[in-house]
Symmetry: C2
Subunit: 157 residues, 2 copies
DNA sequence: CCGCGTCAGTTGTATAGTACAACGGTTCGT
DNA sequence: ACGAACCGTTGTACTATACAACTGACGCGG
């Protein structure tokens, strides 16, 4: 307990707001995503985007990145493959791993979904100044970076 | 496209980052919540918090606020009641509605969960300056307010 | 007062998304 | 060559969710 000033109260209040608003956002995110791109099975969008971005990544990488169980990723991938949006190829050097690539259809679907999402975000953020957008983006980056630092399982300890 | 200036590019880049980071956050939120308060059935935490905050609210209010189907709310509430965390009482003047109140156990569980969440957030935001926290909080408020504008949650009445 | 439209909530059914555990195949270190 | 570690799949179960059909309670126009 510092006796110098009441700065801590201000910090607490801000943290409270951040907690509450982030929670509210998370609660609504699913419904919102369903409205923006109803076609692509939802979560798969995220995985597909990651696959596109990091071509040749493995299922395990996705699981680690998104804190998902490997079985979950496996099924999501199966769905994506059935839809013809990703290809799973065994790595030549290691037969355990599958190298993931978007198909052409996958890239196309992803581009459409991204365009929709982007339009939705831009509409929502239309009346923000460039400076505010920049700062908000920076804050989110910083927040998420903090969270993923200890992420690699943060297991027992 | 417009030939007036390049400010649009900067805006687009920021919006992209915001979109991506918010999505990443949403994807991880569930797993994170499960770690922070594994006891309380997860989503119910949010509803319970809302019930606590707005004592005497109705199931329909919750559904509207969180964009949930009333059946979903009904079941969540049933679970919460079975756990002895909320009470559902018929309104005296209108027998259709149920007035919701947290039980004592509910308030206690909620307080614990909130303390845990709060601690987690504070740890994560420990090295942020008070000014940054304040601004981040303000941005999140602004962002969410835009999304809820059309929701029947801010009743003029 | 009666019937009909409306509102609140519940229940049936179906679907994602997820985890955990058990398993099969692969690779590597000793 | 054996066993540990690793990658992915499959079986099972549970939560969260939606939509639709239904029950019960209001409330209004006749």
């Amino acid at each position: 307990m510092s006796d110098d000033d009441g700065t801590q109260d201000v910090r607490d209040a801000s943290v409270d707001v951040i907690q509450r608003e982030l929670t509210a956002f998370a609660r609504r995110a699913r419904a919102a995503a369903a409205r923006v791109h109803p076609e692509i099975p939802l979560v798969s969008y995220t995985l597909l985007a990651h696959i596109e971005e990091r071509r040749g990544c493995r299922a395990t990488d996705l699981a680690a990145h998104y804190l998902l169980d490997k079985s979950t990723v496996s099924r999501q991938l199966a769905g994506l493959e059935k839809l013809g949006l990703v290809e799973r190829r065994p790595a030549p050097d290691d037969h355990r791993v599958q190298v993931l690539h978007p198909t052409e259809a996958g890239s196309k679907v992803l581009a459409t979904a991204q365009a929709n999402r982007r339009a939705a975000y831009q509409e929502r953020l239309a009346d923000w100044s460039a400076e505010d957008l920049d700062r908000f983006a920076a804050y989110l980056l910083r927040y998420n970076a903090a969270g993923t630092a200890d992420l690699p399982d943060a297991p027992s300890a």
